[in-house]
């Protein structure tokens, strides 16, 4: 079964699922960061131009900092998120799912010199396309991974129905599916709802609209609304 998730198993037997991020959203995040850096450089240049030659020296230092330290500092301080990555809901984590740490942030951003060769991050793009977790060379060296941050989503309201149970023990995945059905029912056509409810007729002992209603009731019951 194919999924874009890297599974890491901790010694306690917990499977961490890291939804790896590929080149497309990362390129957009880089573009946003690039625009921010360009703005910073322009602002610094126009402010420091009042100081003539002395300002020019400071300007060069600022330029160096924005070019090299910006991603390292952002990833180190804000838990692996530069502003661009924050907008795109990405985060850099260690390969085992832990926080990134300064050394890794430093390594992966230093390796940009290689990834950006020969033009426009072509090397990084090719490795990112080829690697199963979408890593560029810097990530492979620093043992990091860029992941999609799971968004806190508000649970949609359930379809209302008088709660009642069924006589069978449902497995966790099945319970989740029943609840998902009740949550997503408003986005499905009535025919499709009936179709899905007919599938579990052996459980609900009903077909059609009544089966749908019973599934809603079961979902309410599973969520403890008695």
């Amino acid at each position: 079964m194919l999924d874009s998730v890297r599974e890491v198993h901790t010694p306690e037997g917990v499977a961490l699922r890291l939804p790896a991020a590929g080149p497309v959203p990362r390129a957009i995040a880089w573009g946003i960061d690039f625009a921010i850096r360009l703005g910073l450089v322009i602002a610094a240049g126009s402010l420091l131009s009042f100081l003539e030659m002395a300002g020019y020296g400071v300007y060069l230092v600022v330029l160096f900092g924005i070019a090299w330290a910006y991603p390292v500092v952002c990833e180190g301080l804000f838990n692996g998120q530069t502003p661009g990555k924050r907008v795109m809901e990405l985060r850099v984590v260690a390969q085992d799912g832990g926080p990134i740490g300064w050394v890794a942030a430093f390594a992966r951003n230093l390796l940009r010199t290689v990834d950006m060769l020969p033009f426009g991050y072509a090397t990084g793009l090719v490795t990112s396309l080829a690697d199963p977790w979408g890593r560029r060379l810097g990530d492979i060296v620093a043992r990091t991974l860029v992941v999609h941050v799971a968004r806190e989503r508000k649970r949609p309201p359930l379809a209302e129905a008088p709660p009642h149970g069924v006589g069978i023990v449902l497995r966790p995945a099945e319970q989740a599916a029943v609840i998902a059905f009740a949550e997503r029912a408003p986005t499905l056509t009535p025919e499709r709802q009936a179709e899905l409810a007919d599938l579990v007729e052996p459980m609900t002992q009903a077909r059609g609209a009544e089966g749908v209603e019973r599934l809603f009731g079961l979902a309410n019951w599973l969520l403890g609304r008695r």
Partner: protein, 515 residues
């Protein structure tokens, strides 16, 4: 479409994660895509360039190739749409499909919809759901994914450009530094007034960049499409419901006609694609059934024959399982490469020699000094470590607060228990007095009930044995003694003298101890 054969993890995803899934699909089946892709695009490339050469319009060849992209996109889409159901077609099947598959939608995709940024998202709708899908269906499927699809198109175009420019930029990058400006000049001259070979080279580069990027672009769109269908029709829910039905013993195969257009991804009938085995020369056998003929499986099962690819894959996965193929990685320290003999000889000057000797002597004497210091330290602190060497117990302070009075032997109770207990109490050995009272009570209880107590019986066991006492009063008195003893022994809560006296008197009266 058989949803129970799907080979991807279906779950509600964000649009970006759907893009990742599509790209992962392409990554897994890249080889299956690339071969037919080359076989389809290279002839077109050759024809277009030859025409361009002939008409002296070589510069427009990349434009034509770019314009024909929707036609080429059918290759990865065909492979992916079947690979999702675990039945990735081989090159031959893909090429055969290219002749007939999906041409109807090409008219609009090559004309007024060529510049649509939603091509990757809408191609699956048009090609996989049949020709009856109108713009309304496209809008429904597109839905919330259209924004992301537009951005993906933009980004992939930039990626293609980056790949193309990257290869071009290698020219000045590999030039020696002093000839760098020359290399740049060469590049600009090639841009301004290119000879024919430069044109052809550039066209080939463009074809290469397109071949790398386009499958991934189509895959991203296909991932978005699958995600939208999953959302719209709750595919993930359907999958779990089907398994639940199987678990409850229902019929597993319920064909669903998805409302709003089926995904016409049924694998093609295999009878015409399978090549009959070549006649194998076998030694003659008596059986006459062995006649060459078409394979019987398709004839028997026809359309309903399940594909063998998932089974083969399962076998392969089982064989690749680490339980079968154990690999161990061992790490151990090994010596680094020894420094090679034959170090460079050099002349020493006596002055340097003297200086180094002096420093060497300093360091050596410092080290000796350190040795002497350590020995002195050991000598001074011998009182602390010598006992350990001699295996002597470290001296304990006599005033540890632990009562080390010898135990009164438990088996022998004094004849006059109350007197002995009171004597202990007056001496201030309250605990010992209570212990004596407890032991005597237990002995009396055992004598009265005839219970068998194991050596080392706990207080609870004594209480349980005391239930056999006939008289309630006796039992209460005994229980009180045990409680008092427990409070004293385990909680260090000693009773008042009056309480002790009362209990003692009560026990003496009940069990007939001499006063």
């Amino acid at each position: 479409m058989r949803l129970d054969q799907v080979r991807i993890v279906l779950r509600p995803r964000s649009s970006w994660e759907a893009v990742e899934l599509g790209m992962a699909l392409v990554r897994r089946h890249f080889r299956a895509i690339l071969r037919p892709w080359c076989l389809v695009t290279l002839p077109v490339f050759a024809v277009v360039n030859a025409l361009g050469w002939w008409l002296d319009l070589l510069a427009y060849a990349p434009l034509v190739l770019w314009w024909l992209k929707p036609v080429f996109d059918r290759v990865p889409l065909f492979v992916l749409s079947r690979a999702v159901f675990g039945d990735a077609p081989d090159t031959r099947a893909t090429l055969a499909a290219q002749r007939t598959w999906g041409w109807r939608a090409m008219v609009q995709h090559l004309t007024w919809r060529r510049l649509s940024p939603l091509r990757a998202l809408y191609l699956p709708v048009d090609l996989l759901e049949g020709a009856d899908s109108g713009s309304a269906r496209r809008r429904v499927v597109g839905g919330s994914a259209r924004g992301v699809a537009t951005v993906v198109t933009l980004v992939c175009a930039n990626f293609e450009f980056a790949l193309l420019m990257g290869v071009l930029w290698l020219v000045p990058l590999f030039a020696p530094p002093d000839r760098f400006s020359d290399a740049l000049g060469l590049l600009s001259w090639l841009m301004r007034d290119p000879p024919t070979w430069a044109h052809l080279g550039f066209n080939a580069l463009y074809w290469g960049a397109m071949s790398v990027m386009e499958p991934f672009y189509v895959g991203a769109g296909f991932g978005l499409y699958l995600n939208r269908r999953t959302d719209l029709e709750a595919w993930d829910v359907e999958l779990v419901f089907r398994r639940l039905r199987e678990r409850l013993g229902g019929a597993a195969m319920v064909l669903l006609l998805v409302v709003g257009g089926t995904l016409a991804i049924a694998p093609p009938a295999r009878a015409d694609t399978t090549v009959p085995d070549k006649a194998v020369v076998k030694p003659k056998q008596e059986k006459e059934e062995e006649k060459e003929g078409p394979p019987t499986l398709p004839r028997l099962f026809g359309e309903g024959r399940a594909s063998e690819a998932p089974f083969r894959k399962a076998v392969k996965e089982a064989l690749d399982d680490p339980d079968y193929r154990r690999k161990e990685t061992r790490k151990e320290w090994v010596r680094r490469d020894k420094p090679k003999p034959g170090t460079v000889e050099y002349e020493e000057s006596p002055a340097l020699r003297a200086i180094s000797d002096f420093f060497g002597m300093l360091a050596e004497s410092a080290l000796w000094l350190l040795v002497v210091l350590v020995l002195l330290l050991l000598l001074v602190s011998r009182k602390r470590w010598l006992p350990w060497l001699q295996d002597m117990k470290p001296a304990t302070s006599t005033d540890s607060g632990i009562d080390v009075a010898p135990l009164v032997h438990a088996a022998r109770l004094p004849d006059d228990i109350p007197t002995a207990a009171r004597a202990l109490w007056r001496e201030g050995r309250v605990r010992a007095a209570l212990a004596l009272l407890y032991r005597a009570s237990v002995a009396a209880m055992v004598a009265r009930t005839g219970a068998r107590l194991v050596p080392g019986a706990t207080e609870a066991e004594c209480l349980r044995a005391a239930r056999a006492l006939q008289d309630n009063e006796d039992r209460d008195a005994f229980n009180a003694v045990v409680r008092t003893w427990q409070y004293a022994a385990y909680a260090d809560r000693l009773p008042e003298e009056a309480t002790f006296e009362a209990q003692l008197a009560r026990m003496a009266e009940r069990f007939g101890w001499s006063r």
